[in-house]
Symmetry: C2
Subunit: 326 residues, 2 copies
DNA sequence: GCCTAAAATGTATACGTATTCATTTTATGG
DNA sequence: CCATAAAATGAATACGTATACATTTTAGGC
């Protein structure tokens, strides 16, 4: 490994000067600057980011703890986050964490001294909040939020659930089912509250929580459809769930929306596809939540101050082709 | 920031002992080990990965240079790569790089002393190869490969192109178009060669290269369909392109496959979706290319030896519902 | 040409860890 | 109980960089 010391020798200057050429080019004469640059080229020197961040006690590194990519929502947010951070000169350490491995993910993530952390996967009650605060690491959550109600970017989940259920109700549906994820996370928790607000009481047999991946959605779907009187419409707690439901429904030759109406929440890119045309609820501004979050995080990092961030985007129904009058 | 020195003081031992507790617990008495562990808990000490990698001259860090996530192929590979690497104790630095920003991506990626590098985005002729070799950084490419023909994992792209075109030909199609990406990358280059082998000469008006994102695909599609005699079938150089074509076709009320047959290459997960059912060409084993690549890379990193890796997976047609007899 | 201020460069040090080598403590066997 | 080997611990150092401080060089004004 070629170090700044090697460059210094090659250029006939001190190591400090090499460092200055890199960080404060204006503080060094043009002549010596050229000598050093030449030496850098010759030796193909590249500065060691670890040493740099060790001495400066800061890094250009951000850790992203995202949900799994089989959910297109996280595809879009991950993409936006990584690209924006890179543009701003930050490297991004990515992990796709399943809820049950969260603790491990935190542990490893914290070892790398990071400039900041951006996470989607937080439980309502989660110890990570204290830990990050204690280490004074700037952080922000997107999609989900913590019970402490600080530093988050989300859509109005209650309203989203409400509008989704209301949409089906207004189309005349009476037997409306709900398929969602864990109630331990704010997203599904709040969305379900919204659904209940719109519908009043839901029959327990028509409510399925804790589905995560495609297989579990398929199981949930099967369970609903083999009921004596199956639902005529389903509110899916997320577009990823809706897409999975559509998949199994199509494969079971069930016509959508003729035989079954489906509505999602998130308004992901995929839902707009000509072959999908999923009716869904999403933010009015159509801003990418990940992008909003990373922008806020970088502001926090670079301004060193932490005004409490609480962003909740208003939502509306995007009516497409997977719902129709009952 | 609390350091191992602080822990040492708290526990009444030397810093060296703290380090030993962390790295060679067997080399320290149970009693002192407990004292140190207690101190670690009390102070919430977490070791600094930068200092560690500085002194050891190695890291548990891998850089991934992936293609953009609007291509579902990269969604699947990124997911597999990151998850496997994490399981093996590596952090993954991710960048989604457009071909035109490749140089910048390399530059920043190299600064972080990494254990290895895994990249999809390489040009056939690309200086990165020499640079990585010079820095003796283990690396591997997936999807694309370099002209040097070393350290890659791919599918048999020529064969894939050949089979895709042949499939349409056997269905009786005469006017077959091709939409692909840059010919500077091995993937599209080879796939197009295969197409030509199967079809003999293609009319120049039916060949469109250099499409990257959705918009460009839409333009390409429009260009083809407003020809005096439009094609009856399209070979898409990648499933992502095929999906984009389907999107615009559906929105233009063009029936697939009745009015237009479409075949892709990659066999991504999305292509199996009930609402999509894209006919495509993909590896027989259906192994995730990214997974294969990361497994090989980690082997290289941990065995320190570098047998040349050249993996080309055989392919076949997955016939679904976007192609039919002309 | 000399004095002074300013600019440029060099020297020394710190960051937090792992490890080599030296030293101390413990265990073993007679 | 002592001699010796082995085990455990401590002291010192290196990794590559940035920077505060010291020193040298340059420029400016007379």
């Amino acid at each position: 490994m070629v170090s700044s010391k090697d460059v210094a020798i090659q250029a006939g200057v001190s190591q400090a000067t090499v460092s200055r050429v890199l960080n404060h080019p204006d503080r060094v004469q043009a002549k010596t600057r050229d000598k050093v640059q030449a030496a850098i080229e010759t030796l193909k020197y590249v500065p060691n980011a670890h040493a740099r961040s060790l001495v400066q006690d800061k890094t250009k590194l951000i850790t992203l703890l995202s949900g799994p990519l089989y959910n297109p929502f996280f595809v879009e947010t991950t993409s936006a986050i990584v690209n924006y951070a890179n543009k701003k000169g930050y490297q991004v350490n990515v992990q796709f964490v399943q809820d049950d491995e969260l603790a491990l993910a935190y542990a490893t993530a914290i070892q790398t001294k990071v400039a900041g952390m951006i996470l989607s996967c937080v439980f309502l009650e989660d110890a990570i909040f204290e830990q990050l605060t204690h280490m004074s690491i700037p952080f922000i959550t997107y999609n989900r939020k913590h019970a402490r109600n600080e530093y988050f970017v989300e859509i109005d989940n209650k309203q989203a659930g409400y509008l989704a259920a209301q949409h089906l109700q207004r189309l005349g549906h009476k037997r409306i089912a709900f398929i969602g994820g864990s109630q331990k996370v704010s997203t599904f928790h709040d969305r379900f509250i919204g659904v209940k607000q719109a519908l009043g009481t839901l029959l327990p047999e028509l409510v399925i929580h804790n589905t995560a991946d495609k297989e579990e959605v398929a199981k949930a779907y099967a369970q609903l459809m083999q009921l004596p009187t199956p639902p005529t419409a389903i509110v899916c707690g997320a577009d990823s769930i809706a897409l999975a439901v559509m998949d199994v429904a199509y494969k079971a030759q069930v016509k959508i929306p003729e035989e079954l109406s489906i509505i999602g929440i998130d308004n992901v890119e995929d839902s707009r596809h000509g072959a999908i045309q999923l009716t869904t609820v999403g933010s009015i501004s159509e801003r990418n939540l990940g992008l909003v979050a990373i922008q806020e995080l970088i502001k926090m990092i670079e301004n060193e101050k932490k005004p409490c961030i609480q962003i909740t985007e208003s939502v509306k129904v995007f009516s497409r082709s997977t719902t129709q009058r009952c």
